[in-house]
Symmetry: C2
DNA sequence: ATTTTGTGCTACTATATGGTTGCAAATATA
DNA sequence: TATATTTGCAACCATATAGTAGCACAAAAT
């Protein structure tokens, strides 16, 4: 099992999805984030580390505090994949349309 | 670590994403799918099992062959989450707009 | 009837993951 | 200066994951 670290891996965990949602409202410190969940500060820190690696999140040091900002652009990768998926689906239905078209012609 | 089995977990693995893409073109047997990848038949079967559990994929027995169909509707869950995310982002920018608006007013 | 083929299922392995605990470093506060 | 707070980091644990190999069973093909 190679260590993957992509956006899809990042959003696989429900806590990380929640953190992402939370950060849409603005930057927060690890402590503040942990306060919103049942997770411990360290657990949240680990999730933030993973999110940092995927560049979904960006650190900003401010004295002893670290503010975690969301990099919303990264989310576009998922959107892109979904778009690609939907396009392939459309192609398939076009093929199905062709089949139905041909059946219609035959019936004539 | 609880065993999660949701769509997000399902698309976390690149092989599974590839399988999903492959099945947009139509149903395939495990052997046929494995033929498209470097993965072994057993590995693909495991992925199909996971995809079945999330209802992304549906089995159709045909003699000794099993055809795996895509349930494209499940993918909408991801779309829905993304939509929710984007909506939250918009809200944040609206708040930012309000701040700027207020600053403008103050300057007057 | 025998062989081949397609598949699922059950170990088994190595590695990843999510989480906890404890410690150290840096900054803020008294 | 002494103490409290915020954080990262490393060690450790239990479980999940991805993959392999082998067996069993049913359906086709010979």
């Amino acid at each position: 099992m190679k260590t993957r670290r992509d956006v899809f891996q990042a959003i696989a965990d429900p806590t990380r999805r929640a953190i992402i949602m939370l950060l849409t409202a603005g930057a927060l410190t690890p402590n503040a984030i942990a306060g919103h969940f049942n997770s411990s500060r360290q657990a949240v820190s680990k999730h933030l580390h993973i999110l940092s690696e995927c560049e979904i999140v960006r650190q900003e040091q401010r004295g002893r505090e670290i503010h975690y900002h969301l990099n919303a652009d990264k989310m576009k990768e998922i959107e892109k994949w979904l778009e690609q998926f939907k396009q392939l689906l459309t192609k398939r239905f076009n093929q199905l349309d062709n089949v139905l078209e041909q059946l219609k012609l035959k019936r004539k």
